[in-house]
Symmetry: C2
Subunit: 119 residues, 2 copies
């Protein structure tokens, strides 16, 4: 799985994404052999690089998760264009693109979890 | 509760936040009398306006949830400054500021939920 975030000039902000990818990798071992962070802008690795990493590791099924709260231009155009280009580049690899994080039903409990941890 | 998002030029993107606020309002009736969406930039209502709405509704405890994935300048400086200013403006109202969404343990299951809904 590739956790595809926007990317920030702030190293600490990108680090949060990297840490979440590591946590997902630990928890989803039955579903994914590998979970890689990637950034659309402002920080390596790019989504293209992360896909290349997964292909080089021998994976034939890659799931790209757009780690964005809102469906702006990046979610609607930029990430799908990168995935489409990668599909053409690696015709033997099945590259799936999920909905963006903002549409997850789990966000309600993610907000709730924030409240609990605050008390 | 005020769900404080960045705000987008895209109406549909702000609408996603408004819908999540409505969903949270429905599900958290035991904890919150009211859940209001608010935007730091680019769309009304502002966070200041949402706080004023809650105060006008007679609430004495307001929880502001920064609906941001990463702790950039907005999370570190802008939202806290707005909350601090509001605390001074409404000394009788207890205004709490939670951690930002990106730190919620629930994000792991939010991503997982995305995978499930995709299959």
């Amino acid at each position: 799985m590739i956790l595809a975030a926007h990317g920030s000039r702030l190293k600490s902000s990108n680090e949060e994404v990297t840490q979440l990818a590591a946590k997902l990798g630990d928890q989803l071992t039955s579903q994914f052999a590998q979970v890689e962070p990637a950034f659309l802008e402002l920080s390596p690795p790019s989504i293209e690089q992360a896909i290349a990493t997964c292909v080089a590791a021998g994976h034939h099924h890659i799931t790209v998760v757009p780690y964005f709260l809102a469906a702006g231009r990046h979610v609607k155009d930029d990430v799908p264009a990168i995935v489409e280009q990668a599909r053409q580049q690696y015709p033997d690899v099945d590259i799936e693109l999920t909905q963006h994080l903002g549409l997850s039903d789990g966000l309600v409990s993610a907000v709730t979890g924030l409240l609990d941890s605050n008390n």
